[in-house]
């Protein structure tokens, strides 16, 4: 599809026209794709009575922050935010465990190593619906239902993360690790001081993805938390939708509060995230 190699000027002109047409098409599609976000943000600043206007207003007539205030006064969004941030912090702990396992599989030959690695990969095939109920029962046996530990543990590590770390760490030269060992460093120090710094690119991508996943975490808090004190923003938002079904402006404020931080982080780091798939996704 390269347009550069064209020789005839007529063909080049055709290509340019086609490019413009496709560009316009892409723009229209793009506007449709972000329209729900724009509508969400604009609605979050409207009053409830303005939301009930027919026909609906596009821009808020009398912009207000009240909806966001109500999230924290009439709902417990402060508590939900705290819980969500706790989960985000622990998702970084999970990331570290994934990195450790990835290193173990990448740089050591040991008895059962490859069998265990296949076992890890096999867990990727298991659908969440099958494990949902037994995990609840297992956590119940461990007396961890309705606790933060119970919410965090099931999703802490993941086979795909381990796989990506292993792929990356295999490229680290053995000589480098050997040299560190000769200097008398322990295996764990080698990992912390040599391997992790080298793995910065993959750590960055996985870190961003871990943040997004932690911030969005929904299913485990939904299943494990009975108590509103343990709800995350996602679960709190479903509660908000149930309790304040008619308060659309409040719902839009709740959604905006959840979505905007992720969009900001995504736009800042988009190159890393998108290129991650170019590097690791399709090989």
């Amino acid at each position: 599809m390269s347009a550069h190699a064209k020789s005839g000027s007529g063909a080049a002109k055709n290509d340019l026209a086609l490019k413009w047409a496709l560009g316009v098409l892409l723009t229209i599609g793009g506007i449709l794709v972000i329209l729900p976000f724009i509508w969400m943000i604009l609605s979050a600043f409207k009053s409830e009575s303005e939301m009930q206007n027919i026909p609906p207003t596009f821009l808020p007539v009398d912009a207000t922050f009240d909806n966001f205030k109500h999230l924290f006064t009439e709902m417990n969004f402060g508590v939900y935010l705290k819980n969500t941030l706790i989960i985000v912090v622990f998702s970084f702990v999970g990331l570290f465990l994934n990195a450790m396992a990835g290193f173990g599989f990448a740089k050591y030959k040991f008895k059962g190593g490859s069998a265990l690695f296949y076992l890890v990969l096999a867990t990727m095939m298991i659908p969440g619906q099958v494990t949902m109920i037994p995990i609840y029962l297992i956590l119940n046996e461990m007396h961890l239902t309705n606790t933060m530990t119970g919410i965090i543990l099931p999703g802490l590590v993941g086979a795909f993360g381990i796989f990506l770390f292993r792929q990356f760490m295999q490229t680290i030269p053995d000589e480098l690790l050997e040299a560190t060992r000769l200097d008398g460093a322990s295996e764990f120090r080698t990992f912390m001081q040599i391997v992790l710094p080298i793995s910065k690119p993959i750590l960055a991508v996985q870190g961003i993805l871990a943040f997004i996943a932690g911030w969005n975490s929904f299913i485990w808090p939904l299943i494990i938390a009975n108590d509103e004190k343990l709800y995350t923003l996602s679960v709190g938002l479903t509660l908000l939708k149930g309790q304040y079904g008619g308060n659309f402006a409040l719902q839009m404020a709740g959604s905006t509060f959840m979505v905007i931080p992720i969009i900001v982080i995504f736009i800042i780091f988009q190159r890393h995230i998108i290129e991650n798939f170019s590097i690791s996704g399709m090989k």
Binding site: M1, V33, P56, L97, I135, L137, L153, I263, M282
Partner: protein
């Protein structure tokens, strides 16, 4: 590094992750299989002596359950409409972005990918309002161009389509990125040779791009299909399976029976039927792929 290491170091590195995976991925499969042959429910949860073995009763009952049957048909509807929609949509966007090949076109990657990273609950709440028959934006826009109002989430068929539209909106971005990565892996020389032979853009697309993307298309169609087979959050938040169970997916059926009705054994049997369906379909796809190409 050469030869087998005798040290305990590798086990130390993999142990924490491996223990968690065994506890929360592998052991659950065994537990699910066992309880799917029992009448495990809330009473069984409180006291194990209340649990009894019921053989394949759960499987027989769940297959005879009209709601389960309906949820299978709904899920098939999601797959049959949703997979081609996402596949063709994301492929077209990827081809256009790649064709443009400059900064402006690349910026659209961010726009189209954005729905994939945002919270599913938040966007489901937003879409519920967009679909609202009275205050929603979509019916207002239709009205503005003198088109009749659409019963987005009220009509049994339309509700499924509405959920698919939203699911496609969320799902296209990631697949677009995968296709762009694959497109950039096609050697430029192929196109140059085709141009020398006088092949136009469309013929290059048909005879070079699409065949070269065979593996990416295969990958995306399998992952997308598995995604639709596990479709859960959107119907859970937006319709709770309604109207009249017309949007209940198999995954939602399992959740509903497991966590709202606490019929753990019954629900586990349903989840195994879903699991086998996923394995079977994936296996068939691999077979067909093998026959179709000599890769």
């Amino acid at each position: 590094m050469k030869g087998y290491s005798q040290s305990k170091a590798p086990y130390f590195f993999i142990a924490p992750a491996l223990i968690l995976l065994i506890l929360f991925s592998l052991l659950p499969i065994v537990v699910a299989l066992v309880i799917s042959f029992t009448n495990m429910d809330l009473a069984g949860l409180a006291d194990w002596s209340n649990i009894s073995f019921v053989g394949i009763d759960n499987y027989v009952d769940v297959l005879a359950d009209p709601v389960f049957g309906k949820s299978i048909l709904n899920t098939l509807f999601y797959v049959v409409i949703g997979v081609p929609l996402i596949l063709i949509g994301s492929l077209l966007i990827a081809i256009i972005v790649n064709f443009g090949g400059n900064r402006v076109f690349n910026a659209f990657r961010v726009v189209y990918y954005m729905p994939s990273v945002t919270n599913v609950v938040a966007v489901a709440v937003v879409w519920t309002l967009l679909y609202n028959p009275i205050f929603g934006l979509l019916n207002y826009l239709l009205d503005a161009v003198h088109l009749p109002a659409v019963p987005w989430l009220q009509d049994p068929i339309m509700a499924k389509i509405s959920l698919i539209i939203m699911g496609a909106w969320r799902g296209m971005g990631l697949n677009m990125i995968i296709f762009i990565a694959a497109l950039q892996g096609i050697p430029k020389s192929y196109y140059e040779a085709a141009q020398l032979d006088g092949a136009g853009n469309f013929r290059q697309l048909l005879y070079i791009t699409i065949p070269m993307l065979r593996f990416a298309i295969f990958f995306v169609s399998i992952t997308t299909m598995i995604g639709w087979l596990q479709f859960f959050e959107e119907p859970f938040i937006m319709t709770d399976g309604g109207p009249l169970d017309s949007t209940t997916s198999v995954a939602l059926f399992i959740y509903h029976n497991g966590f709202q009705l606490s019929n753990f054994g019954y629900s586990a049997a349903g989840s195994f039927i879903l699991f086998f369906a996923i394995i079977l379909i994936t296996f068939l796809q691999f077979k067909l792929q093998g026959k179709d190409t000599d890769l």
